[in-house]
């Protein structure tokens, strides 16, 4: 049995995610779209906090809400006049998009509901996550160690920095 506060929090988050992700793709002003994306990312971070993964929630807020959304807002302000609205969608395009999205959601939803007993698991209690333990996993070469992906990510970020400099350089 969950506490009442947890259940209320869940419903607020679920409603926020659904409403704001629909608004993100249907609004015709691009800056509003980025703002609604920010709200969706915050709601996701709250889900991570509710799952007792505090570190992941902090990373989500710092990287997504603090980094990526700011990048989006900067590039929108660099490429659009303020208050500019996108053209209305043609019917043809709208129907293609709607049918693809609804077909995917229907197939996934059907498979979810057909595994109902597996999906009705409840939250087991966890003894919290130790950040020191996480660091040991990240830098170990044992069975559950993640040293190789960690190094690969660092090389990827270096390549990304060099690529960004090369692309954005004035010729």
């Amino acid at each position: 049995m969950e506490s009442v506060g947890n259940i209320i929090l869940y419903f607020v988050i679920a409603l926020a995610i659904i409403v704001f992700s629909v608004l993100t793709v249907t609004t015709r002003r691009i800056l509003r779209s980025a703002t609604y994306l920010l709200f969706v990312l915050f709601a996701t971070a709250i889900i991570y906090f509710q799952m007792d993964y505090e570190f992941l929630g902090a990373v989500q807020i710092a990287v997504y809400a603090g980094g990526i959304v700011v990048l989006f807002v900067f590039s929108i302000l660099l490429t659009h006049r303020p208050g500019e609205r996108a053209d209305a969608l043609t019917n043809h395009r709208k129907w293609i998009g709607l049918s693809a999205a609804l077909l995917g959601v229907a197939v996934c939803g059907y498979s979810l509901f057909s595994y109902a007993n597996f999906c009705s698991k409840t939250l087991a209690s966890s003894n919290g996550l130790d950040i020191a333990q996480l660091g040991h996993f990240l830098l170990s070469t044992d069975k559950y160690g993640y040293l190789l992906p960690f190094e690969a990510i660092s090389v990827l970020l270096l390549a990304c920095i060099i690529g960004g400099v090369v692309i954005a350089r004035r010729r």
Partner: protein, 103 residues
Amino acid sequence: MNLTLLMYLIPSLIMFGCGVYGFITRKNMIAIMISLELMLNSVDINFVVFNRFLFPGQLEGMFFTLFAIALAAAETALALAIIINVFRIAKKVDINEINKLKF
């Protein structure tokens, strides 16, 4: 009333559907990137929720999400650099009007 695994998967599924819809219908390149972020984010939620509900003692899903967040940040930074460069050359960001490489 209990919070079950299914109750967390449904908002994530709807978020993914919205991402697919936006990816297909939008013409603005930045709006397409925003839809892509929605899809990536819903997959991250799935990883975390499956890890927490089905294997509470292990951390695989959490590490996947950490690496996916880093990848998404790198990919967005590069894509936005390319979009701004295209705008500098072509003065527009609509995918329908950018056809210099097409012919």
